[in-house]
């Protein structure tokens, strides 16, 4: 594999990790979020600051980064609990803009210059780059997927599904909406923090615009395209949206337009995503598989 393909594959992996986190919030718990890039950014910035200012190694900083991002997710998740659907969508857009503005305007976060000189990750005395870094990202992605699989079968996951389908009915069954919405928010933002840490150590130079609102749109598009609430949806979405710009490369200037038209057609004709319930793939598979299986 050449270095270029590995770069794309690594970025797809990181996007998939962050999108899996968004999927827990949006797909599992039904809480629309258009500000996920903010938490991706909080993860990346805390990893970058811990590495450059505190001099911690990636492995020592990683648990801290994940905890910091999840704590901020918990804090920002609290006001989001008061609002629903459309209000929630706008509130999360607002969070994204405010977080980006803080990164951009407060000198501690490097201001407009961003943070550079983030060291590479060391593992067993080897500097990870290229293929080895990709394998590390793949390992974390599999870890995240395994967690999502476990969570979707745990009591907490089932409670989130119930809240997504009908909040008042779930609440009357004794499921606390506050507790499980926050749980989904914390899990989702923690995954964004992990993705952010990997991103910071891979790109090694970060600035506020890397985590602006369009990135949130991209992340939500990944989840929607793949199929919200499915296990593999975010991975499929990340692969497709990550590979498309390369496939569309001959279109040069018209690339982004095509991208957007594709998303529009997708949402217009397959709103459940590629792997969601009622989608084409889902229907084909239910025809192939005998009844009782899904």
């Amino acid at each position: 594999m050449n270095a270029y393909l590995i770069t794309i594959a690594t970025l797809i992996c990181i996007n998939a990790i962050v999108a899996c986190g968004l999927n827990v919030i949006v797909g599992f718990a039904g809480q629309i979020s258009l500000g996920h890039a903010a938490f991706f950014g909080i993860g990346a910035y805390s990893a970058a600051l811990l590495a450059t200012k505190a001099g911690l190694s990636f492995w020592a900083a990683l648990p801290l980064v994940v905890v910091i991002t999840a704590l901020i997710g918990l804090l920002l998740g609290l006001p989001s609990l008061r609002v629903k659907e459309d209000f929630l969508a706008i509130t999360t857009i607002g969070i994204n803009f405010i977080v980006e503005a803080i990164f951009l305007y407060i000198p501690f976060f490097g201001g407009a210059l961003g943070i550079g000189g983030i060291p590479r990750i060391m593992l067993f005395g080897v500097r990870l780059k290229g293929l080895t870094f990709f394998l590390l990202c793949l390992f974390f992605l599999l870890l995240v997927l395994a967690f999502c699989w476990w969570f979707s079968r745990s009591w907490g996951g089932l409670a989130c599904f119930a809240l997504r389908e009908e909040e008042s009915a779930a609440a009357s069954m004794g499921i606390s909406p506050v507790r499980f919405k926050l749980l989904a928010f914390v899990i989702g933002t923690a995954m964004a923090g992990l993705g952010g840490a990997l991103y910071a150590h891979y790109i090694r130079f970060i600035s506020a615009t890397d985590f602006s609102f369009p990135v949130s749109v991209l992340l939500l598009s990944i989840v929607v395209l793949g199929g919200m609430g499915t296990l593999w949806g975010p991975v499929v979405g990340a692969v497709i949206l990550g590979a498309l710009p390369e496939v569309f490369r001959p279109l040069v200037d018209y690339r982004f337009l095509f991208y957007m038209l594709l998303l529009l057609l997708m949402i217009r004709y397959q709103p459940a995503g590629l792997l969601g319930e009622g989608s084409m793939v889902h229907r084909v598979f239910s025809l192939l598989l005998p009844e009782g299986k899904k």
């Binding site: 706008i90 509130t91 857009i93 803009f97 939500l220 957007m260």
Partner: protein, 287 residues
């Protein structure tokens, strides 16, 4: 004191422009409960078409009127092709569709007209005032007059005509309105047409006000107007106007007098989150 009054006048003009852009959004939200982010793209198209027709014909009136017609058709097209078929899905589905439309139209503008900033040099046929050493330029007068006219017309349409009655009925309950013999889809389309035509006016006006027309001019308004309709109370047109004027004045005065470390564009969202926490139905909303 003189400086303060000049700042205030500029702030009110700023707020009037916000109000013109936000109106269409509030109308659409009121009737379909959709966050119509692509509205800001219609506003960009409005500026481009206005500029193009103005250069072609040399008449500002033809330019703005043509732009209003074009944008009204564009708005109805978006409604028919994207929103109406998606109404049965949860609200995030039309929202994502709307974002895709917005970005696609922005790209189209860039591909057709080029990424550079175009100038919109037109003299607005409005008088200039001089009161006690304070000059009110003809552009400011134009912004005030046009905003007042649009608001008055909109108030008349929504509260005095049969169309307005039908619009209010559809915004309350579509199936019941249908049962009462109202062609609700037609009313929804007309609402989009009205909102988009106002966006065309706003786009042309902003193009002249700043003497700039460029593909991403709708980006900041797209998100700021969302905050404004929340602050005003989702779907409340008077609330949206009040919120827009307050924000315009607050932004201008805070930039002029207070040294806040955050950019002015973040202010709208901070105000919005504060309003949501304190009065989640918005300033003039009822829920």
């Amino acid at each position: 004191m003189q400086l303060f009054i000049e700042q205030l006048l500029n702030g009110v003009a700023m707020g009037s422009i916000y109000a013109l852009i936000t109106l269409g959004l509030a109308l659409v939200y009121g009737i379909l409960r959709i966050l119509h982010i692509a509205h800001a793209a219609i506003y960009t198209v409005g500026a481009y078409v206005g500029l193009f027709l103005f250069k072609l014909s040399g008449s500002l009136i033809i330019g703005v009127a043509g732009s209003m017609v074009f944008c009204a058709l564009l708005g109805v097209g978006i409604e028919r092709f994207v929103y109406y078929p998606l109404l049965k899905y949860p609200p995030y589905v039309p929202l994502i569709g709307s974002i895709a439309v917005m970005l696609a139209i922005e790209e189209l503008c860039r591909l057709v007209a080029g990424p550079q900033i175009l100038t919109f040099q037109a003299v607005l046929p409005f008088p200039q005032f001089q009161i006690g050493g304070i000059t009110v330029s003809s552009t400011l007068t134009a912004v005030y007059c046009i905003t007042a006219l649009v608001l008055l017309l909109l108030w008349y349409i929504t509260s005095k005509t049969e169309l307005g009655l039908a619009m209010r009925a559809v915004s309350q309950d579509i199936p019941i309105a249908d049962a009462m013999g109202i062609n609700s889809h037609l009313i929804v389309s007309l609402t989009f047409a009205i909102g988009s035509a106002i966006a065309a006016v706003a786009g042309s006006l902003v193009g002249i006000y700043y003497n700039q027309v460029y593909p991403t001019m709708g980006t900041v308004p797209a998100y700021k107007t969302l905050a404004l309709i929340v602050v005003g109370g989702l779907g409340s047109v008077p609330g949206a106007v009040v919120a827009s004027l307050l924000l315009g004045v607050a932004e201008t005065l805070l930039i002029g007098y207070a040294n806040i470390p955050l950019p002015r564009d973040a202010l709208a969202f901070i105000a919005m989150i504060a309003v949501l926490m304190w009065r989640s139905e918005g300033l003039l909303g009822s829920r």
